[in-house]
């Protein structure tokens, strides 16, 4: 239901990739791998409509995503390289604002337990700049515990996490896939989760 055909990406007049195709069904996981600069982030950004492809298209339920309006953006949760967190605000405040901007109205308790789920219990009121790199990464991922969007796009999110946190996140992704969601994850590490369909896309080729 989420498919890409003949995608070509050009950044700064440099060809990053071309003839890229994939098709994902509900419950499907797509893992992106490849060296730095091979276009993993670019591909995720193209799916988010943050970047326009030089050629080709992405289709959601058969329709070109460029022709869809805000409803397509509402389907996505994108967790990028940079933890999209404001340093001066606490993890809880950050989560509440992210939630509010997406139109959801989860109450403080739900948000608090989401942060707890990611091992940040007791740290949720500290300004994010006081957290360690791993803790910030987990605060950024807390959005996964409260979002009910269909498509998750995760860019190198497991990088600074310890074993326990990696398991946590993989559990979240598994639960999401079980509910019929889609996940596209770019990572160097090996994913050890079960999905109804597990595809790998190596961008080095």
């Amino acid at each position: 239901m989420l498919e890409a055909s003949n995608l070509e990406c050009v950044r700064g007049e440099r060809l990053i990739f071309r003839n890229l195709n994939f098709a994902l069904q509900p419950g499907g996981l797509l893992q992106l791998s490849g060296p730095n600069g091979s276009g993993k982030t670019s591909l995720l950004r193209i799916i988010c409509r943050l970047l326009a492809p030089a050629h080709g298209e992405i289709r959601w339920r058969g329709e070109n995503i460029d022709s869809l309006d805000e409803e397509y953006s509402m389907l996505l949760t994108y967790v990028g390289h940079k933890a999209a967190l404001k340093d001066e605000l606490s993890a809880l405040e950050n989560l509440r604002i992210t939630n509010g901007l997406c139109g959801a109205t989860s109450d403080a308790k739900t948000l608090g337990s989401a942060l707890e789920q990611l091992g940040l219990g007791g740290l949720e009121d500290l300004p994010v700049r006081l957290l360690s790199e791993g803790q910030r990464r987990r605060a950024a991922l807390a959005v996964l515990a409260v979002s009910n969007t269909k498509v998750w796009l995760l860019d190198e999110v497991l990088a600074s996490l310890d074993r326990k946190a990696v398991d946590l996140v993989q559990n979240l992704i598994e639960a999401h896939l079980d509910k019929g969601g889609f996940a596209i994850v770019s990572t160097h590490q090996d994913l050890t989760l079960s999905a109804s369909s597990f595809q790998r896309l190596d961008l080095a080729s």
Binding site: E70, S73, L85, L101, C102
Partner: protein, 219 residues
């Protein structure tokens, strides 16, 4: 939606109060430089007051623009704004409004105090206040286009000035002329109405241009 963005930016501004105050102090210092430069003769100061106060307010406003998008761009929150259900237009409008509340309004409120340094009468001080009250949002709105265009570029501060100051000229002219008119004893209404017209135009069109520029800069 709009409310959340506004709340967020106001919360952030409160936690970084020093940024906000420094813009205000810049305004005060620059205005005080002029009498030091041209001499304390009252008649002369009265003549240059509208221009000086307006140009200083304009420069101070322009300095505050650097904070509008740069920080969000650096920590990745800007791209998340593209993925929200509301149109980017509204988000931009909310951010610019927050910026105005936090820099434009203090400037405006400070101006009558500084106007006293130039020997302006209470009636003129009121017109000064009103002209800045209408004019500073226009400066923020127009400036946001420049801020979006120069996002992440080297030397973006000076480049921003280069792009935005020519576009500020009509606001400067109508604003300063309003105060001038008041000093001369005639009605400032025409100038203030023209300023208001600019405000309406800017409110409708500039967030759209800023949103387009943001998309271009973020790609």
């Amino acid at each position: 939606m709009f409310g959340w963005m506004l709340r967020r930016d106001l919360m952030l501004a409160w936690r970084r109060r020093s940024d906000v105050l420094s813009t205000l102090f810049f305004f005060v210092i620059v205005v005080s430089l002029f009498p030091l430069g041209v001499g304390p003769e009252t008649q002369l100061l009265k003549l240059i007051a509208p221009g000086v106060l307006w140009v200083a307010a304009l420069l101070a406003s322009m300095l505050s623009l650097g904070r509008l998008f740069a920080n969000d761009h650096q920590d990745g929150t800007l791209e998340q704004m593209f993925l929200t259900p509301q149109p980017l237009y509204l988000i931009v409008l909310a951010k610019v409004f927050a910026l105005w509340l936090v820099s434009g309004v203090p400037l405006t409120l400070m101006s009558p105090v500084l106007g006293l340094q130039f020997g302006l009468s209470p009636g003129t001080l009121l017109i000064l206040l009103v002209s800045l009250f209408i004019g500073t949002p226009v400066l923020a709105l127009i400036g946001s286009i420049g801020a979006a265009l120069t996002l992440g570029l080297r030397g973006s501060g000076v480049l921003l000035a280069l792009l935005v100051l020519p576009l500020y000229i009509p606001v400067l002219i109508f604003g300063a002329s309003a105060v001038d008119a008041s000093i001369a004893g005639i009605s400032a209404q025409a100038n203030l109405l023209l300023l208001t017209a600019l405000l309406v135009l800017a409110t409708f069109f500039s967030p759209w241009a800023t949103a387009a520029a943001l998309r271009i800069s973020v790609e």
